[in-house]
Symmetry: D2
Subunit: 127 residues, 4 copies
Amino acid sequence: MNYDNFIDWFQQGSVAIPKLLLQNYKNLNLNEEEFMVVLQVLNFIESGNTFPTPTELSSNMTLSTTRCTEILRHLLQKGYLAIEEDYHEKSIIVEKYSLKPLWVKLFHYLMSETIEQEKTVVQREEQ
Amino acid sequence: MNYDNFIDWFQQGSVAIPKLLLQNYKNLNLNEEEFMVVLQVLNFIESGNTFPTPTELSSNMTLSTTRCTEILRHLLQKGYLAIEEDYHEKSIIVEKYSLKPLWVKLFHYLMSETIEQEKTVVQREEQ
Amino acid sequence: MNYDNFIDWFQQGSVAIPKLLLQNYKNLNLNEEEFMVVLQVLNFIESGNTFPTPTELSSNMTLSTTRCTEILRHLLQKGYLAIEEDYHEKSIIVEKYSLKPLWVKLFHYLMSETIEQEKTVVQREEQ
Amino acid sequence: MNYDNFIDWFQQGSVAIPKLLLQNYKNLNLNEEEFMVVLQVLNFIESGNTFPTPTELSSNMTLSTTRCTEILRHLLQKGYLAIEEDYHEKSIIVEKYSLKPLWVKLFHYLMSETIEQEKTVVQREEQ
């Protein structure tokens, strides 16, 4: 046991999670388990593995591989995640997860909320 | 609807979650719901509210206030969170959550893992 | 010397700096010294001190207190930073730095860039 | 101009910079320009380019390519950065920057500071 371990641990770094997402995943109809799968996907992407398998996700979670597969399928079908194709050197195709659909959903929600609030203000002023 | 909203949303910033924690909360015997309560506490602390109520935590989650109260109590009793007292100007006492016990648990786990691995290496070399 | 120190160091956490800002401070006419003052202000804000003095900023930098004062004044005059007033309990007024003007500048720059690129595309298509 | 751009900008994410580093680069004998080169290297690594050229670094900075080359050389010679080799599929060797030497320097500094403080406490108690 020596200081080298501490430096290795420290060096792993952090994943920056937007506060907006932590505050609104519920409003996007995600529950805690589903949101944690999203965070694990983000964690793997930021660690260089852009297409983690259900088994890899499950290894960091209390959920079984089967449950991770189900949640991933749900997130893809309901448009929270997408799979993109990347072309590497020598035209090897690499699949990777994209969280862009999630940001789109988040902004749609925030915009509809804002419009709703503006309407309420206008209605109050008209009364 | 205008660009101001986007700037406000962007300005909210991110919470930096250590990758070590995302990878090891399961090994510290936390499940996804409990870990999400920890992340919400961290989110509130980083947003300037160092002692969020169960109702505030619940407002960002699919969990009820009662469930949040239960999980908070569990996290405090089992030594994942602590309550510290802060003395402000004019000696007003302010309570706040501390995640220090969680980091202590994390490092104890990582150290015991490392020692275990070193033992295995030594045993293999001796055979 | 013991493990407690490591845990304290680890616990300090990270400041999440938007990549857009790291990639564009130059386009907003900030140089490295000025941008580092912005980052130090952000660091102090995120550590709970929302109105750091030039002396406090200087203590983390190779720049003198006088130089930090000059740069702060420049950032305020040119609209990169603003000073906001916060009303605490018992109506004590607390001054704090806001980075909102910087985000506004960043988005204005990014939008003008985008419009410029779209114009170029249209011009090419017309030729 | 539409909302797509905002989502793309938002999606770029953040680089998590440890507060310890923002508070101590000066104590590690780095000035603001040198530290900004380190942050740019980190920014490129986190964006998937693990071996940015001086020209790429310079494109985000007010420093010339020549100046970036000089600073990179200095950081490598004085042991703040290292170049590591990665073996990809089909044994293509890929060079990449490592910030591990910087963390080692940071912890050595923090440890020597702690020991110094403990000595002072002991000396005061002995008097």
